[in-house]
Symmetry: C2
Subunit: 171 residues, 2 copies
Amino acid sequence: MSDLLLSEQITGLIKNAWNVQVKAVTGYFNKYDTDFYYQEVAAGRNRAVYLLGHLTAANDSLLPMLGLGERLHPELESLFLGTPDKQLPDTELPSFEELKSYWEDVTSALTNHFSNFSTPQWLERHTRVSAEDFALDPKRNKLNVLLGRITHMTYHMGQLNLLKQAAIVAD
Amino acid sequence: MSDLLLSEQITGLIKNAWNVQVKAVTGYFNKYDTDFYYQEVAAGRNRAVYLLGHLTAANDSLLPMLGLGERLHPELESLFLGTPDKQLPDTELPSFEELKSYWEDVTSALTNHFSNFSTPQWLERHTRVSAEDFALDPKRNKLNVLLGRITHMTYHMGQLNLLKQAAIVAD
């Protein structure tokens, strides 16, 4: 099998992991009543609704980092990346329903873009690294940024699942 | 562009993600006093020490799944994959220090094996899927199993970091 075909198979695995994690987050936020998501994942820590905003803002930043355009919801950055949970009154934050629709916007846009990416494109430098720094560390490419966002989703899913009612082994 | 084949560059990114997550778990379990790890990550949920056993057992299962040999610590499977936390007295479980040394054994063995894996080997079927099922879904390969174990570590790191004293945005 050619190197290009092998590479496409592997980028396919990573895109599949993206799809699986996006689906897990989407499913989680469509499963319970709204009140459920205003609980803290652990005493004194972030609420689920905040983590939805946080994950949406973090994924939205992939658009500029991968050279795909501007953020769809730039207003989320200061609220969910720059400000901890519970520092602002909920009236200054988007509602849970708004956040769910932003999550859908952002992840659909990204998933569409990913279907057209070629393997050499994935291995290009991302837009926040200079050509000089990229030459020193070619791992700083677009695919590595995507891998980081996948693990970022699973990191917070581990926290979100602490809220689930049914106890499951090591969940 | 690096002289490495595209496919090798990409498997390199995934191996790097493995190394980064293993290092994060190792660092976490070497940072605090032993008592710290006997706390639950959230009220009524798993203790950190249990999650160390759980992550060790899950990673140990990669050895047979990737065709690399038998588990190094098969005794962990029933304790940390088949039994929820706090069902057995701590006297029947390995100590925290023993678990840390098992974690080192398992992850070092795996990391050594990974350095010798070729890309075509990564794309072979893993040992728990039949040739027939693999033909239907070639994603069920060894590299995909590794990706799953990487996200498994980040999932539980999200929980473990809830125990950290200092509050950090969306941690």
